[in-house]
Amino acid sequence: MIELLWSIFDITLVLLLLALAWTTCSTQDVKRAVTLFIAMGLLLAIVWARLKAPDLALAEAVIGAGISGALLLSAIKDYPSNMVSHRSTLIEGIINSLTLVLTILMSWAVWHGLNMSDGVRLSEPVISQLPVSGVSNPVTAVLLNYRAYDTLLELAVVLTAVLTVLTLNEKRVDYEFSSPLLQGMTRWLVPLLVVTSGYLLWVGAHAPGGAFQAGAMLAAAMILLQLAYPSRRQEFNNSLLKILLVIGIFTFLLVGLWMMSLNDDFLAFTPAWAGTLILIIETAATVSIATALTLAYLGGRPRGWEDTNRTSRSIAENGGAG
């Protein structure tokens, strides 16, 4: 009986997901598509939770649905919406049939692959090394100990993407109007979000959570502030922002090099210190990820971004001349 209920749940979830994906992809109305995409992200979070991936469920709910949604919604006004045009029927037919053939082939490959063998499962090696990894959440252990190198490069990818955003555009013009309701809610929500973010960061060592979820939560708080108080025209402290943007990758590299001097391998943590080192790296990474996502939401460099460079350069030049 229980198994039947599970099956009904699974099938309903999968059908809903596919239906949402189909409507997201087939509508020509941009606002509708973005809204449906956010809903699909939330549904995916449920799917991750169902497939025993709570870390992913948290990340998807905050990043996949929340931050992506905010990014896309704020980007809508950059594009003209009256550009409806269709491909010719011939090309549409070719695309349709090719995708269909590819999907069928992939389905066969997945079915065949799952039937052929159980595959290699890495749970056991991960669990057996867990006591010396410094944390007890296996996903955090993989991310920041076993495969720390990948995570370091991932932070580099995020930084590169944000640098591109900053190079290309100025910050978008703020929304002029913000309702008192949103402001009142923000006053309650932002402290709550900051505390939750700190909690997620701390709890990541032994339960679902970690730097990415915490960083995204912090970014969500910043975006909410930006939406609720646009009129204040708050000036960002740009030099501070620049430091916060790179502090994650800088700390990561520094710890990696330090461990290299002790253990002969880049990012090979000494087991006794691993927990503390991971927490230090994660704290710095949280701050950097939050800054990066907030800047990505703003869509470009805030006012005075180059000026800080110029002043520091002129100071340096003056100092050199003096």
Binding site: T99, L122, V142, N169, G210
Partner: protein, 94 residues
């Protein structure tokens, strides 16, 4: 628990197909980006479905870490593509 693995990974393949088709069909950059994200979600779903081993068994944490990385990289790549598109629109307007 082959059936749940199969069900969810086939759903992942379905998402991939739907996303790919729309990426190729749409003209508007924003809609294409959305479709590409749906496509990516499909790939993530295949990964996680294969990592799932049943209610009692612990799921494989390595694909989880990979997909967590993937989600963050996907949102960064989307932000970058949106910035490129915005610049393109600004250049077209001039």
């Amino acid at each position: 628990m082959i059936s749940e693995q199969l069900l969810y990974s086939l759903a992942g393949v379905g998402l991939f197909g739907i996303g790919l088709r729309a990426t190729l069909l749409h003209h508007m950059l924003l809609l294409r980006l959305l479709a590409l994200n749906v496509c990516g979600a499909g790939v993530f779903l295949i990964f996680i479905a294969i990592a799932y081993g049943g209610i009692e068994v612990m799921a494989d944490p390595v694909p989880h870490a990979l997909v967590l990385t993937g989600i963050v990289v996907a949102v960064s790549a989307t932000a970058m593509a949106l910035a490129l598109g915005r610049r393109l629109e600004a250049l077209n307007d001039e």
